[in-house]
């Protein structure tokens, strides 16, 4: 009886297995790299409707974060109202075309459509007030915003990122006075990790690491 299959077919199962392994590895590696939360968003710097420069205001002029983000200590870091901008800009650069959107919003009451940069998934319940009041500086998550012309996401904001800090707060805490000073070192950086641990101990800082801390 003539052979139905040529001899080379004998190697086919091995070839298929190898092929599947290679493809699966590439797919897994690719997915791990590109699709896990850690890398999906870092570097995101959308164009905002008003070319507001934090480097100018917070860096050069030295405005405190809380001047504009006034609700940070009670709830979230709300984006300031147009009225807050106009506190200064009814004196300075009153005719700048870049600020037309702000003046328009102040005049009509219609909101400016700022683009959300640091987006938390809707199943995460994050509260700014507890972090800034318990020694976590803005810089820990937002980076040196005071040096940014365009706000850019610099930290992954993934669950792993949150948990890294929640598991070792001693590396990240600052004195209360330094929370809004984005150039200040953490306690651990300034005085060693022991000082950080002592601070965490003194303040009874025990960040939640179970689901209920952030998910409801």
């Amino acid at each position: 009886m003539a052979k139905l299959f040529p001899r080379s077919v004998n190697r086919l199962p091995l070839q298929i297995t190898l092929y599947v392994i290679v493809v699966a590895s590439i797919a897994t590696a690719g997915a791990t790299y590109y699709m896990t939360p850690k890398y999906t968003r870092v570097g995101y710097a959308p164009i905002q409707p008003v070319p507001f420069s934090h480097a100018k205001h917070a860096g050069e002029l030295g405005l405190d974060c809380r001047y504009c983000h006034s609700t940070i200590e009670t709830a979230g870091a709300a984006v300031p109202t147009a009225q807050t901008c106009m506190n200064c800009h009814n004196q300075i650069k009153t005719t700048s075309p870049a600020l037309e959107a702000v003046r328009e919003s102040y005049r009509t009451g219609m909101p400016i459509h700022w683009v959300h940069v640091h987006v938390m998934p809707s199943f995460v319940y994050f509260d700014h007030s507890i972090h800034v009041n318990r020694g976590i500086s803005c810089v820990e998550c937002h980076g040196k915003v005071n040096e940014m012309d365009v706000v850019t996401q610099v930290k992954p904001m993934s669950m792993g990122f949150c948990l890294d800090c929640h598991r070792s707060p001693e590396e990240h805490v600052r004195e209360r006075a330094d929370v809004y000073n984005l150039d200040s070192p953490t306690i651990a950086e300034a005085r060693g990790i022991g000082a950080g641990r002592a601070f965490v101990q003194d303040w009874n800082i025990k960040p939640p690491v179970s689901c209920s801390g952030c998910h409801r």
Binding site: V119, N133, N204
Partner: protein, 1086 residues
């Protein structure tokens, strides 16, 4: 890195044959393409810094898009932040703001705090400033917020088929006023529902002063107050040691029930062993939640209640004048005699009250008894209320019949649906030339009116109201009228031609006049009024009752002879449904799905018949066996109650509805709950139940006699959420008699399976231990499993007092509102897929269960006169949670504060956890209830998808809206715990003592706890022995549900105590559930 690859040149065939190319670039052989081909990777792909990687992704995205695949959908959508243009004072994004308001219902209101998120109200709580309610609320108040966002509510004003805006609508009303001004209002009539609003009262008086010949009529289909003119009896249950309720459901149906529930609980709560406890005697025809709390319950037809009252009065006072009215009463004389003796022994601290639906004679007799016992002024007071003189709907109909009404303005109510049947209101209304209706829905009445005006919800209107004791409370808008609705005050002001119809000004003027504030301070007084949510010192004065004052004896002489009741002369009792009220809440999905507290039927009403009557009608077997412990006898279609449809004939008027066999009813009384069977209602209420109004006549609004019942061949499914009523002799609800408890609290534990094993519980320190510590002492506590240690600083726990829980369901709906719990519809409830995180279990025990599970016969018959036990069951937050062991994906795990948490994102929907839960408190999203329409669930992706914007607004932003395929359950309101912790830690950090992280007791309250009118639920930190919950758990009644499973639940119960009178003929030395339990566990003793 570049590598030169020498490709072989094209073959001859390739040169001559057709050419293939991979892109237009290649075809054109552009220089760029050639350069790109020479690179191993596309530009940027091999450089790993972030910006270049982004570039690469952009290129890839762009190329995919060009290729027509379009992966742009995989990117996260761009979201916007929209800050205010001008700053708003007090608005903090992410933080709720609370405003005081009140929910008016008939002639009393519930003071509330409304939680608003960015200007939209999402949740209502009782106003804690108003002491008589202690911050509690009611079932209907909790659910009323859903009505605000009802997509079926009236969204426009229409006149002769054309839409009007609000200003035009008010002009139209003002025009009516002007047209009738010339005749001093002749031909103008108003028909309104009852109201407690001082502003409405003022406006009506002004209107009638201007139009003295106009008619002002008021109609309410449900009587929750006795018709005692301007006197309102108010009972002080906390001071009453002995209470006799004569057909009065004061815990639910009577006005002021919210206040009464709280006061009654005060008299029932036994904290220490020798605390006093009140004793409740209840005579009733229906089985109400008041009856379930009674220590002695007498089943008696409502038509015999006056005679019962008279017999009691005769025994108490010894006055033979009552005997005539008591003639023919068929009640064990010993029952009345011992009850009377108990009352006489407690002069000045007893109370007798009669239901509002009873004839005035019953009120008069109750007054006589109270007067004799010296209760007036101590446990009973009479408030002098205010009422606008109003005619009845019958009188109005008579005037309309004489063609004397040209214009009829109907404010609220729904007479076309709920007016007495013999009035034939629809044709009466149609005979009026011009009818203007102000209504929240375009309902039966609006359908017959030429002009319909959309009413504003109370959460979008300015107004005022009075609580049950008369305290004036504000009705404050939380949001602008969503559809430009109008208030009654605006309409009345426009009709009266007042210069201003601005609702705020109207209320402001009333309050200013009421407080007598001079112009300078009026604004401040009003602002304080709005802030506090009530006006101190405006309660009604109570009447001074002179000793010896009696009511006219003529009332007694007018008492008719006792109506005979039998199978052929059935008594029909029309009651307001516990959820629908008179039908006004019919389109409220939360209330529709909320099971009735007693029957446990949702989405329907049923004609309730007693087991005795059912037997005589031949409908008890086998259909009723669904309620029987023996499964082999059950004619039970996959867990669905398949009820016989019966036809009830009352005075020649017929009613057809499913019959539900309800233990505990008077033998020949059938109960017809009102509020269902609406013909013109929204999508939720459509097709639910039958209308009891069809057989309700003006002469027999509450009690009708001589009805007959006929069983038809039809069957109807009832969505019954609890069809099994027996505890099967288990110690699910532990009960003891007060005397036994006072003698030896340990005896109560004899009921438990834990008592079956020897345990070192004689240790005197045992009562100081927490249940967790205690459970380690019992043998199963020394299990092979490692006992978990929780390291959180605070450990959450809950205690539920079954002794004060009245089973009113307020917690169920409060939980639903707080936790975004969806409704599933009747069809899915029939399949057992109800989503409530708390369920209220209702058990009957008649002492006859003999352990069907162990070969006994079990309860063969539905008990005629059972004892009832209620038990709210939510997730127990077991420390050794069986659900956690079986989850394959760790979606349910413990946190370090002892909560059994659900991570919805991890859940893959195996439902193993629900299977392994001994308490059956986990709920599974079989469908995407939120995004799919309940009538097209089975269409899958072909069905409509999405949630109406209006419905989205009611969702609590602090809680995830769950989707299909996810398990969910009670979380102890984890969002409130986290909020409480955050607020406290922020506060201490700002005050300079950040180390003080323990949230003080009482700062965190769960939604169920906050709503409970009886304060039966306590929540808090069990790691601290000083907290209220720790103290509750140290009480001797404390027990764990199914504690012998060693699940170590964090929620424990306080056993229920009954306080029967040993001298009564129906005295039981042990509660019947205990009897069943002992029979089962100690058969040798029996």
């Amino acid at each position: 890195m570049k590598r030169k690859v020498i490709h072989p040149g094209p073959s001859e065939r390739e040169k001559s044959g057709p050419r293939y190319w991979r892109g237009l670039d290649e075809l054109a052989e552009t220089p760029g393409f050639k350069a790109a081909m020479a690179r191993e990777f596309p530009e940027g792909a091999s450089s790993m810094n972030e910006v270049d990687r982004r570039q690469f992704l952009k290129i890839m995205a762009a190329s995919f898009a060009l290729g027509g695949i379009g992966l742009s959908g995989c990117r996260r959508p761009e979201e916007n932040i929209l800050p205010f243009g001008k700053s708003v004072e007090g608005a903090v994004p992410g933080l709720p703001v609370y405003f005081a308001t009140a929910m008016p219902l008939r002639r009393w209101a519930t003071p509330l705090l409304a939680e608003t998120h960015q200007g939209r109200p999402t949740k209502l709580e009782g106003n804690p400033g108003y002491a008589p309610h202690g911050g509690s609320s009611t079932l209907r108040a909790q659910a009323s917020i859903l009505d605000l966002y009802d997509p079926d509510r009236a969204t426009a004003h229409t006149h002769a088929g054309k839409a009007l805006d609000s200003a035009a609508a008010l002009e139209l009303i003002a025009g009516i006023g002007k047209a009738h001004a010339g005749y001093r209002g002749a031909g103008l009539a108003f028909l309104a529902d009852q109201s407690s609003s001082p502003t409405r009262e003022r406006l009506v008086r002004e209107l009638l002063a201007k139009f003295p010949r106009a008619i002002w009529a008021e109609y309410e289909p449900v009587a929750d107050e006795p018709d005692t003119r301007n006197l309102r009896p108010i009972y002080r249950f906390a001071k009453a040691k002995r209470i006799v309720s004569i057909d009065a459901d004061f815990l639910q149906a009577e006005a002021g029930s919210q206040y009464y529930a709280r006061e009654f609980a005060k008299g029932r709560r036994v904290v220490k062993r020798d605390d006093p406890m009140s004793r409740l005697y209840a005579a009733e025809s229906n089985l109400t939640i008041t009856g379930t709390m009674a220590d002695h319950r007498l089943r008696l037809a409502s038509g015999h209640m006056v005679a019962f009252a008279a017999a009691l009065a005769s025994k108490v006072t010894g006055d033979p004048g009552f005997d005539k009215a008591a003639a023919g009463l068929d009640v064990d004389p010993a029952w009345i005699a011992e009850c009377a003796a108990d009352l006489v022994a407690h002069k000045g601290e007893s109370l007798v009250l009669a239901g509002s639906h009873l004839p005035l004679a019953a009120q008069a007799i109750a007054f006589e008894i109270n007067s004799f016992l010296g209760n007036i002024g101590t446990t009973l007071e009479f408030l002098i209320t205010r009422r606008v003189p109003a005619v009845t709907i019958q009188q109005l109909a008579t005037v309309i019949g004489k063609k004397a009404v040209q214009t009829l303005v109907i404010l609220g109510g729904n007479p076309a649906y709920n007016a007495p049947a013999d009035l034939d209101w629809p044709s009466v209304q149609k005979s009026v030339p011009e009818v203007v209706r102000l209504g929240y829905y375009e309902d039966e009445t609006s359908e017959l009116a030429g002009t319909h005006l959309g009413a504003a919800h109370y959460l979008e209107s300015w107004g005022d109201a009075r609580t049950f004791d008369g305290t004036v409370v504000p009705v404050q808008p939380m949001i602008l009228p969503l559809f430009g609705g109008l208030t009654q005050n605006e309409v009345l002001a426009a009709a009266a031609g007042l210069p201003s119809t601005d609702p705020y000004t109207l209320v402001f003027d009333t309050i200013t006049a009421l407080t007598g504030s001079p112009p300078g301070v009026a604004e401040a007084v009003f602002r304080k009024f709005l802030h506090d949510g009530f006006l101190d010192g405006t309660a009604f004065r109570s009447m001074r009752v002179r000793p010896g004052m009696t009511l006219p004896k003529t009332l007694l002489d007018a008492v008719p002879a006792l109506p005979a009741v039998s199978k052929d002369a059935i008594e029909v009792r029309f009651v307001a449904d516990a959820r629908m009220d008179d039908g006004r809440f019919n389109n409220n999905g939360w209330l529709q799905e909320c099971p009735d507290p007693i029957t446990k039927i949702s989405w329907d009403n049923a004609i309730l018949v007693s087991p005795r009557l059912a037997r005589e009608l031949g409908i008890d077997s086998p259909a009723s066996e669904i309620q029987v412990a023996r499964k082999d006898l059950a004619d039970f279609d996959k867990g669905k109650e398949n009820a016989h449809v019966v036809e009830l004939t009352v005075n020649g008027r017929k009613l057809k509805g499913p019959a539900h066999i309800q233990p505990g009813l008077a033998n020949y009384t059938v109960i017809v709950p009102l509020g269902y069977g609406r013909t013109k209602v929204g999508r939720v209420g459509e097709g639910t139940g039958f209308s009891g109004y069809a057989a309700r006549e003006a002469g027999a609004m509450h009690i009708a006699n001589g009805a007959t019942i006929r069983v038809t061949d039809e069957r109807a499914y009832l969505a019954d959420t609890q069809w099994h009523w027996s505890m099967e002799g288990r110690d699910i609800v532990r009960e003891a008699n007060l005397s036994e408890f006072q003698e030896d609290p340990e005896k109560m534990r004899e009921t438990s399976l834990e008592a079956e094993v020897p345990r070192p519980l004689l240790d005197p320190g045992i009562s100081q231990m927490t249940p967790g510590e205690r459970s380690t002492l019992i043998p199963r506590g020394n299990s092979l499993y490692e006992t978990p240690q929780f390291h959180g600083k605070q450990q959450w726990g809950m205690s539920i007092d079954l002794n004060t829980c009245i089973g009113c369901n307020a917690c169920v709906i409060a939980c639903q509102a707080e936790n975004n719990i969806p409704i599933v519809g009747k069809d899915q409830v029939l399949r057992g897929r109800i989503m409530h995180w708390i369920r209220l279990d209702r058990y009957y025990s008649d002492g006859k269960a003999d352990a069907a599970a162990f070969g006994g016969e079990g309860n063969r018959e539905i008990p005629d006169d059972p004892q009832i036990s209620m038990q709210p069951v939510a997730c127990m937050q077991c420390e050794l949670a069986p659900c956690e062991l079986v989850c394959p994906v760790n979606a349910t795990v413990h946190d370090d504060e002892g909560l059994n948490v659900m991570a919805y994102n991890r859940c893959i929907g195996t439902r193993y956890c629900a299977n392994n839960c001994p308490y059956k408190v986990r709920r599974f999203n079989f469908f995407d209830w939120n995004m799919r329409h309940l009538d097209s669930l089975y269409m899958g992706p072909l069905g409509p998808h999405g949630m109406p914007e209006l419905v989205q607004m009611v969702k609590n932003p602090e809680v995830t809206v769950r989707m299909r395929g996810v398990m969910e359950k009670c979380t102890y309101c984890v969002q409130r715990i986290e909020r409480g912790k955050i607020e406290w830690k922020v506060k201490v950090a700002q005050e300079g003592h950040p180390e003080d992280v323990i949230v003080p007791d009482g700062a965190i309250r769960t939604a169920c706890q906050q709503a409970c009118p009886a304060e039966a639920i306590v929540f808090g930190d069990i790691a601290d022995p000083a907290t209220e919950v720790s103290r509750a758990k140290r009480r001797e009644q404390d027990y764990s549900l199914l504690g012998y499973l060693n699940t170590r639940p964090r929620t424990t119960y306080l056993a229920r105590l009954r306080n029967p009178n040993p001298r009564m003929p129906d005295y039981q030395a042990l509660p019947l559930s205990r009897v069943e339990n002992l029979d089962k566990n100690h058969p040798h003793k029996a």
